[in-house]
Symmetry: D2
Subunit: 168 residues, 4 copies
Amino acid sequence: MISDLELRQVSHALLVERGVQLLDIAELVLNLQNKYIPNLSVAECLENVQAVLEKREVQNAIITGIELDKLAEQDMLSQPLREILTSDQGLYGIDEILGLSIVNLYGSIGFTNYGYLDKTKPGIIKRLDSKVGQSCHTFLDDIVCAIAASAASRMAHNDPSKIAIVNQ
Amino acid sequence: MISDLELRQVSHALLVERGVQLLDIAELVLNLQNKYIPNLSVAECLENVQAVLEKREVQNAIITGIELDKLAEQDMLSQPLREILTSDQGLYGIDEILGLSIVNLYGSIGFTNYGYLDKTKPGIIKRLDSKVGQSCHTFLDDIVCAIAASAASRMAHNDPSKIAIVNQ
Amino acid sequence: MISDLELRQVSHALLVERGVQLLDIAELVLNLQNKYIPNLSVAECLENVQAVLEKREVQNAIITGIELDKLAEQDMLSQPLREILTSDQGLYGIDEILGLSIVNLYGSIGFTNYGYLDKTKPGIIKRLDSKVGQSCHTFLDDIVCAIAASAASRMAHNDPSKIAIVNQ
Amino acid sequence: MISDLELRQVSHALLVERGVQLLDIAELVLNLQNKYIPNLSVAECLENVQAVLEKREVQNAIITGIELDKLAEQDMLSQPLREILTSDQGLYGIDEILGLSIVNLYGSIGFTNYGYLDKTKPGIIKRLDSKVGQSCHTFLDDIVCAIAASAASRMAHNDPSKIAIVNQ
């Protein structure tokens, strides 16, 4: 059996290897902030991002999605899957499925933020989406949106005074 | 057994009774349009909205959600459910669950639009959300966002040249 | 805002009022046990059931589902919703949606047990399903299956040596 | 863009290549039959299986899941993903997520059958699960259960007289 420690370390290392720092995700959470939570700090966002990354389900989504992204880049996937992934084909949908499986862990209140981040593509999502060179981030961008939305949900569940982050 | 015809008619009549015309939902779909689909017409959006409303699962979500909204208005729900619904409490989440069950019928590509509409609240969603007098639309606004997002997904699945509506 | 304490107390009291003791749910979990976990105790199952019931999302599903069941019994729902609920119409589906929203909180490993309990209807599920007199448990039986499946998932996540409860 | 025809042909061919005939899946559907639908034929089950396989979302789940299964067999996945897949580790969960994304397309009434098939492993599921030699069917067995459950849901939605297949 894979140890919990190994799964956690590999999943975190993969995010960094693919250009995503936890601080980038914390800034996405902060980006969801609005005038109703004037005192939200990036440190508090980061703490919630780290807690989300402790979940085994999140780690499994990360290692699976990034593996597929990397295999697509290395031309090691069969057709038509490779072309679907390298072109980030909009009708594919399995990438959003993996993202949703993360968001669901914190209940339904994160759906709104997940969709909003995926549509507006702020910060790191924009950078992942710009597809420099041969890079493929079809799964990674949805996973990162989902982690940020989940961190916001977690914050609201733990501190209902911050509820505006999920429904404003 | 309830006839299919009765369920369809009641669910459509409830939307109208609660202030939602199908054209309002079609305009939400059009609102998701962008420069990549310059020639999208409201008639095509309306056609897709009508198709979504033919699904039994969508009709069941409508009659259940609106019933709860109305019972909350009429002060016929137990506490704390009544207060949760009349205040549209952000941590409730069952309203988003019903919306997601609609979106899921057209696959995962609709999550993004569902979340985006729920967050930005354009058109009819804004009007539902303004809570004039004693009205309660806790479930209705999520259901309407979900129908619009599903109509956009349906359009993209049926005509992949319009795929930009779901992933741009 | 509804206090966390009030929501917890009301949701637990509603289960008992409707004839479901936490021990009944713990026995469903034990029922999922098999030869691969010979030493599973009802006390450990009960502890996991109680932890699931601490989640706000679970409490919200309970108070919403049971409210609808009770309103159906009291003839206070509009048609055709009342008839759909009192006949536990198989195509309705909103009851399963609420159950799934509970199971999702513990990841996807609980789907199998959720479906299995709902199909085989052991113990308390059978008793709820027998519809003595005017009672309506359309939502309650799915919610109870979901709580039991979630408790099994929680147990497996916390103690991977008990993983057989979710995949055997 | 990948043509619809190519995606359909590849996804069907992959099922056959991995040892799953459509008739095997039709027999799973028939297996869900019970005394309440005495006249259900395998031909009708097969027709519904074929309709489910026409959906792009189902085809995408098939090509993604089977690709991962094959890469695991060929030792072309990074660790720990490879070990998780080859051992069909019960806490992984991404396989169930892909299955659920298929079932959701036909509404919530299929959850029960999905879980039941996954737990009881009749027919082809048992054969896939027996892991002869180096074969890895971690994703395939969940996908096949999901296709069968979806076919049963489709049948019930189209012919409510056959509703017993989803709720008995």
